[in-house]
Structure formats: structure tokens, C-alpha cells
């Protein structure tokens, strides 16, 4: 009897096991309906999220992020840092090949890092601390820093506008212009196949992909390419993306609207995926010219704002936003409560009092926003309303994004503007820390703290300094954060294998179609 039971259990186990293997068989094309076409897939010089969603399958960096946002090796096998923090030696994995069949060596890495350092979007932030990059044998690279610079690994791991590795012959001839599609040669699990302008971008499986052996964890570890082809199709209208997934014309659709969340969650024809990488909206105050150079007035504006209605109006369902005053989201090592008692005060009386102390006399305050992104506009309408109720004379100026992006460089024409910031794994990547970014936050206290923050190698100390910087943000008010928001996508129920997405870019390795 026991023998029979064992036999039955064994058969059942084999059946379940074989069906699981069957379920993950290779094959099929995943059709991804995306909101637009990216300008290019050249990750080093483009920060478009659309570009990264596609390009992360083609290109890889030396490091990547695991599910806890910690930078871990990808093309690197490990690293050594000298005691003074000035010499970093990165060892490379052997046997990694580019999509042209050539093996990746230290020369390719040096050429890629140098191009990124000179022309890349985020490269100069790291390279202003680097004196030299040189090959140290075939599989090792030395980075010589002018002084210890703690966030180097996070910066090498951040692929968006980041240092992806391409062959030396392409990188040596590249400059700040994006490289052409013929030059999209990376080391990733998928290779570039075709860019049919206006119709789709197609990637196919790279059969000789040199995969890491560790278990998949966030963006790190194994990247198994079950799907034969990934096809990224621009479908700008949300209703069309939804109908397309329901009709079986697309397998995955990006960026649904907040007001559709409930109905899509209940619809059996689709599955909802909320991206875990939090974005946040932020008001940038003009500290160079005009009314907002007055710190007290900025504090008055902050005091007037109640972020809950702002987030609700723009993002709808509470699953899609968090009323969080910490600049970094909860769950990260950077989460801090320093200064957050001043977040979302929603106190018009206090705002009036502070404005009076600031000498505000009903002057016109120019608030720039855009209708190019609906959630930005919706947030700004509520913000403008709250500020008007608190006695501010708000002139809400509405432009398309291209106009806002140009006008914000002229400090004479605006007092504050609204934009959003994508999730970054290390605060050093925040744009508002740059003294040249519109808003121009550049006080001696801030400079001193940022200097300490980048030089300190000890993580605990860095977290502590970041808390002090956050406190500065709430006292000095260079920006006002509205809250964390999450985008969500839908997928056909036949698409399987999505883990938690720790950043905002959905990825399709380890994903298969049943």
C-alpha cells in the first residue's frame, strides 16, 4: 500500500514537474504596447524611460541592482578598493561575448566608460572625480579617483543614461549624438533586430548569451530568454492599448490611467502589474531671481500644501500613490523622517502668517506646468487651487513640455514649476542636488553636506548625511515633494514570470508565454 502511495506521489511529482518545464518552454513573440517611440536606444546619452525599457535587454553594465536596490556585479565579477578609496579595480567576467560574436575585454570597458564620462548624460557626475581609467590586463580595469567617491558602484549600475558596455570600435567613434541602430551591439540576452519607424522595434534572442549563475534577484542574476522575440509597438492611446490586450493583439500594455485601475483589476482578461519603483512629483522654486528667492515665502507655499488631494486627483486609486514625505521611498536604506513634519501641512493660516512675515503683498506668482503629461497638469490644478485659497496670487501658466523645458532655463520668467523625478537608487543622482539645474539650489550648507556625502565610504554615515540633507530640503525648501507615485501596466494572463519590478522598467527575461 505504502509502495503504491509512494509511486502515485512520484508520478504526480513528475507530472507537475514536467508541466512546469513545459510551461517555461522557449518560444513566442511578446508584443509590448508602449506609449510612444523612444528617440534612440543609446543608453549612455539618453535618459528616456521608454529607451531603457527596450535597451536593458540589449545592453548591460558592469553592475546592476538587486531587489533591495543594492548594486551587484553584472558584467563585472567583483572589485577591490584601495584603503584611501582612490583606486578601484573592477574585475570582468571572462567569456562574455558581444552580439557581433567578439569577446568583451577591458579595452571595450575602458572605451565605453570614457565615452560615457565625456559625452554621457550622467557620466560627468562620476568622471569629475576620476583622473584616469585604464585597462589592467585583459579582464580588469582600474579607475583612478582624485578623491574617494562613495556612490561609484551605484552610478555604474544605473543603466538609464548609464555606462553600458559596447565594443571598443563603436565607442571610440561615438560622441554626444546617439549611436545608430546598426551599432546597437551589447552583451544582453536579446539582440537588436529591426527598427521599423512608427511601427515597432524588434529584438530577438541572443543564443550565445553568457548568463550569470546566481538566482534572479531584481535586475541581477540569471536572465533567461524564453521568448524568441520582443516587439515594442508604439500605441499612444490608452484605450487602444487596453482594447489591444483584451483582443489579444498585444501581450503587455504600458502606463494605464489611474481612473481605470479598479475596473482593470476586476477584468479577467487582463492582469494588473504595479511598478514598485516610486516616482515623485516636485515643485522647483526659482532661487536665482524673483519672489521665490525669499526662503520664508517658499516655506509659506510648503505650509499651504495638502498633498493627499493633489495625489488623489492625479493618480486616483490609493494603491498608486503614497503620501510620503521622505524623499527616498520607504523600504530603501535612504528612508528618513528628518524634516517631514513640514510635509503636507495643509495649513493655510500658517501659510498666510509666513507669507506676511516674508513681506508678500499679493504679487503675481508665475507657476509653470504642462499638459503634455496629464498627471502633472492634474496635480498642478489642485496645487494652484490650494495656494489661491491660502491667499497667494497664482498665475498658472500652461505649456507643452518642450516649452517648459526651455523656459525653465530663464530665471526671469518663472517662480516655480512642476516636474517629476524617476526612482534613483542613490540620492546623488537627484537632479535638484545639481547647482546648475533650474531652481539653482546652491547654498554653502548644501555644498558642504553634498561634499561629505560623496566622499564618505561608510554607508551608515552616508545615510546620516542624507538625513541632514533632507532636513535642509524641508527648512530651505528648494523643492516641495508631492508624494510617491506608482505607474501600472496590464498584461495578458498568458504571460508569466513577472517578479516584483524593483525599478520602473518592466523586463522580459525570465518571462514566458503559456
Amino acid at each position: 500500500m505504502r509502495k503504491n502511495v509512494t509511486l502515485i506521489l512520484l508520478l504526480a511529482f513528475l507530472l507537475i514537474g514536467s508541466s512546469m518545464v513545459m510551461a517555461q518552454e522557449k518560444g513566442g513573440t511578446l508584443r509590448f504596447a508602449m506609449i510612444d517611440t523612444p528617440p534612440s536606444l543609446d543608453q549612455q546619452v539618453i535618459t528616456s524611460d521608454l529607451a531603457t525599457i527596450i535597451a536593458q535587454h540589449i545592453f548591460e553594465g558592469l553592475y546592476t541592482f538587486n531587489s533591495e536596490y543594492a548594486p551587484v556585479p553584472m558584467l563585472a565579477s567583483g572589485s577591490e578598493v584601495s584603503d584611501d578609496g582612490k583606486l578601484v579595480t573592477i574585475n570582468l567576467r571572462e567569456g562574455v561575448t558581444f552580439h557581433n560574436g567578439n569577446e568583451m575585454t577591458s579595452e571595450d570597458v575602458v572605451a565605453s566608460l570614457e565615452r560615457w564620462g565625456e559625452f554621457g548624460v550622467r557620466g560627468p557626475v562620476l568622471f569629475e572625480h576620476i583622473d584616469k581609467v585604464e585597462a589592467n590586463g585583459k579582464y580588469s580595469v582600474n579607475l583612478y579617483f582624485s578623491e574617494a567617491f562613495s556612490p561609484w558602484k551605484s552610478m555604474l549600475a544605473f543603466i538609464n543614461g548609464g555606462p553600458v558596455i559596447l565594443p571598443k570600435e563603436i565607442m571610440e567613434n561615438a560622441n554626444e549624438q546617439p549611436i545608430s541602430p546598426q551599432e546597437y551591439i551589447g552583451t544582453g540576452p536579446y539582440q537588436f533586430n529591426e527598427w521599423n519607424t512608427g511601427r515597432y522595434i524588434s529584438l530577438t534572442r541572443y543564443e550565445d548569451y553568457a548568463m550569470r549563475e546566481e538566482e534572479s534577484d531584481g535586475f541581477a542574476g540569471q536572465r533567461i530568454s524564453y521568448l524568441d522575440e520582443l516587439r515594442f509597438i508604439p500605441v499612444p492611446e490608452t484605450g487602444t492599448r487596453v482594447n489591444g490586450v483584451k483582443a489579444g493583439d498585444y501581450d503587455y500594455a504600458q502606463r494605464m490611467q489611474g481612473d481605470m485601475y479598479e475596473s482593470l483589476k476586476e477584468d479577467e482578461r487582463v492582469e494588473v502589474l504595479v511598478n514598485q519603483g516610486a516616482q515623485f512629483g516636485e515643485l522647483f522654486f526659482n532661487q536665482k531671481e524673483g519672489l521665490m528667492t525669499n526662503t520664508k515665502l517658499r516655506q509659506a507655499v510648503l505650509a499651504a500644501l495638502d498633498m493627499e488631494p493633489v495625489l488623489q486627483a492625479a493618480h486616483g486609486h490609493p494603491d498608486l500613490w503614497d503620501q510620503n514625505g521622505s524623499i527616498m521611498p520607504e523600504g530603501t536604506i535612504w528612508y528618513s523622517e528628518a524634516g517631514i513634519e513640514k510635509y503636507s501641512q495643509g495649513d493655510p493660516e500658517l501659510a498666510r502668517k509666513l507669507a506676511e512675515e516674508a513681506g508678500y503683498n499679493n504679487e503675481r506668482i508665475r507657476f509653470m506646468t504642462t499638459t503634455s503629461y496629464q498627471t502633472m497638469y492634474d496635480s498642478c490644478v489642485v496645487i494652484a487651487q490650494q495656494l489661491s485659497e491660502a491667499g497667494f496670487n497664482i498665475d498658472l501658466q500652461i505649456y507643452d513640455w518642450a516649452t517648459v523645458a526651455t523656459r525653465r532655463n530663464d530665471p526671469a520668467v518663472w517662480d516655480f514649476f512642476y516636474t517629476w523625478h524617476g526612482f534613483v537608487p542613490d540620492p546623488i543622482l537627484y537632479t535638484f542636488l545639481s547647482p546648475t539645474y533650474p531652481g539653482w539650489w546652491d547654498t554653502p550648507e548644501k555644498r558642504n553636506l553634498v561634499g561629505q556625502f560623496t566622499k564618505t565610504m561608510d554607508q551608515e554615515k552616508r545615510t546620516e548625511i542624507w538625513s541632514q540633507l533632507q532636513e535642509q530640503i524641508y527648512n530651505y525648501v528648494p523643492i516641495a515633494k508631492t508624494g510617491d507615485t506608482y505607474t501600472y501596466d496590464i498584461t495578458s494572463p498568458s504571460v508569466k514570470g513577472f517578479g516584483q519590478t524593483s525599478l520602473i522598467w518592466p523586463k522580459f527575461w525570465n518571462v514566458w508565454i503559456e
Binding site: I46, Q177, P236, E237, T240, N243, D400, A402, T403, Y437
Partner: protein, 315 residues
């Protein structure tokens, strides 16, 4: 006729020149920078400026215009800032969709619009006339995005008869089956335009019906079908042909809402995206092509008058 055609073709040159200057000036008067759009929301001014220099956008506007014009008259419309490829190939890529959509929509408009308009005029003030006019009013009033999305829900999501959106190239694949992707967009586009032609045909026919020569034709004892087709319809057709010409140009140069709803890679969406991205060479290029098309189709429309009405001569 030949001399007239030649003279009309010559008007393309000043028309193109004036249109180019106007568009170039307007585009550059608009604030906004393609480099800022390309680099995204978090780019610093230094990064934007670096790319501007690389793209040649830091040169004076008149230098940019002169360079562009010189190249355009050599047949080179420059490179798209966004796509980093020649403007002509970007337009060519979108032209297939626009030509197919415009042609098939025109066929539907002709098949529905003219016969229904004629019947409505002949049956003037009857129940049939009221019904057709009601239908025309409805078709003209329904917003195209609403009609498009509902056709999609019915025929793609619920009935699963037709694809919901997109249009894989017929010319590249040689697969005529891909034309099924255009059925819903063409119906969506044809609906309001058919309504216009129905109403125009009806009113033109009714105007001609009041003419003395129609009464004479009937008094002569001609068959009613001959009176309607040879005497009324033929005289009413001139204004209908003019409207059809304009409709065809409008369909060819892009129908943004329908292209967006059905995610069609057509010229209309390209224009809007290029304006939002400040992709100046593409906008200039499209204007260039549309002006040429406009002049040609107008010329063909004018020449067709001579064939339709022997009293018109271009000598």
C-alpha cells in the same frame, strides 16, 4: 490645356517658398527645444546645450533656413533630429499608411456618399429623405475617437473579427491580408466625410432640379433616369468633385485622431509628434510634400472640370 497645366505647375515654386518661410519662422518662434525633449525631464541645461551645439541648433535661424532651403532644392530634406535618419525616408515610411487609408476611405465615401445623396434628392421630403438626412447628421456629429473606440470594442474585443490597432506594412511584407487592419480606421474616417458628401450631393442636386433645362428635359418626355443622371447629376457634380478633392488632400495629409486611436503609423501622427518634439526638419519636410500634393490634386480637380462639363475650357 497644356499651357494652363504648365502655368499651374509653376505656381508650386512660390507657394513652396512662402509656405517654407512661414513654417520655419513659426516653428522657431515657438519656445521649446528638440534637444531638451530628446534628453528627457531630468536633463541639466549643460547637457541640453551640448546636444544643441551638436545638432547645429545654436546657429542663427537664417543660416539654418538657408542651409535647409539649399539642400531641399537638391532633393535633400535633411535629417530628422528625433529619428536621426533622412526626413524623406521618415515620410516615405509613413506615406504607405496614409495613402492606403486615404484611398480606401475615399472609396467608401464615394460608394456611400454620392448614391445616398442622389437618392435623397430624388426622394426629397419623403420618409427615405428624412432617414438619410438623419443618418448623415448622426455620422457627422459622432466624434471620431468615440466611434473608433466603439468599433474596436465591438469588432475586435467582443466579436474578435478584426485586429484592434496597428498596421503591418503591405509593401514590405507583400501580405495583402494586412489590409484588414485598415477596415475599422477607414470606416471611422469615412463616416463623417460621407455625411458631408451626402448633404452636398443632395443640396447640389436640389439646386439643379430647379433649373429651367430640367423642366424642359422632362417636358420633352425623357426617361426620369436620364433626366436625373444626365441633366441633373452631371451639372451638380462640379461642386461635389471640388469637395472630394479637398477631402482627399485632408485624408492624405493626415487624420490625427483616427491614426492615434488605431495606432496607425501615418503622416498625421508624425506631424503632431514632430511639433511636440520640435523636430523642425520633419515638419518642414511634411509641409513641403503636402504643398506639392495640394497643388497637384487641385490641378487634377480643375482639369477634371473640363471633362465633366464641356462648357469649361482652359485654352
Amino acid at each position: 490645356m497644356l499651357a494652363y497645366t504648365f502655368r499651374r505647375l509653376l505656381t508650386i515654386i512660390p507657394t513652396l517658398l512662402i509656405a517654407s518661410i512661414l513654417i520655419f519662422s513659426f516653428m522657431h518662434l515657438m519656445p521649446g527645444d528638440p534637444a531638451a525633449v530628446m534628453l528627457g525631464t531630468n536633463a541639466t541645461p549643460e547637457q541640453v546645450e551640448k546636444l544643441r551645439v551638436q545638432l547645429g541648433l545654436d546657429r542663427p535661424i537664417y543660416v539654418q533656413f538657408a542651409t535647409w532651403l539649399q539642400e531641399a532644392f537638391r532633393g535633400d530634406l535633411g535629417d530628422s533630429i528625433f529619428f536621426q535618419s533622412p526626413v524623406l525616408s521618415v515620410i516615405q515610411n509613413r506615406a504607405e499608411t496614409s495613402i492606403f487609408v486615404a484611398t480606401f476611405s475615399m472609396l467608401i465615401i464615394l460608394i456611400l456618399g454620392i448614391p445616398i445623396g442622389v437618392i435623397s434628392a430624388v426622394k426629397y421630403n419623403t420618409l427615405l429623405d428624412q432617414l438619410t438626412m438623419g443618418f448623415a447628421m448622426l455620422a457627422a456629429s459622432i466624434p471620431t475617437f468615440w466611434l473608433g473606440l466603439n468599433l474596436m470594442i465591438l469588432f475586435s474585443v467582443n466579436l474578435d473579427w478584426l485586429p484592434s490597432s496597428g498596421f503591418p506594412s503591405v509593401l514590405e511584407s507583400g501580405n495583402l491580408n494586412n489590409l484588414k487592419y485598415l477596415i475599422l480606421p477607414c470606416i471611422t474616417l469615412a463616416a463623417p466625410n460621407s455625411a458631408l458628401i451626402i448633404r452636398l450631393t443632395r443640396s447640389s442636386m436640389l439646386d439643379v432640379m430647379k433649373e429651367e433645362y430640367v423642366k424642359t428635359a422632362r417636358a420633352k418626355g425623357l426617361k426620369e433616369s436620364i433626366v436625373i443622371l444626365k441633366h441633373i447629376f452631371r451639372n451638380a457634380i462640379i461642386s461635389i468633385v471640388s469637395a472630394l478633392g479637398f477631402t482627399f488632400i485632408a485624408l492624405l495629409s493626415g487624420t490625427v485622431v483616427t491614426e492615434t486611436v488605431f495606432s496607425l503609423p501615418g503622416v498625421g501622427r508624425l506631424v503632431v509628434q514632430s511639433v511636440l518634439r520640435r523636430d523642425y526638419p520633419v515638419i518642414q519636410g511634411i509641409i513641403f510634400v503636402v504643398v506639392i500634393l495640394y497643388v497637384f490634386i487641385n490641378l487634377l480637380t480643375d482639369l477634371s472640370y473640363a471633362f465633366l462639363d464641356p462648357r469649361i475650357s482652359y485654352e
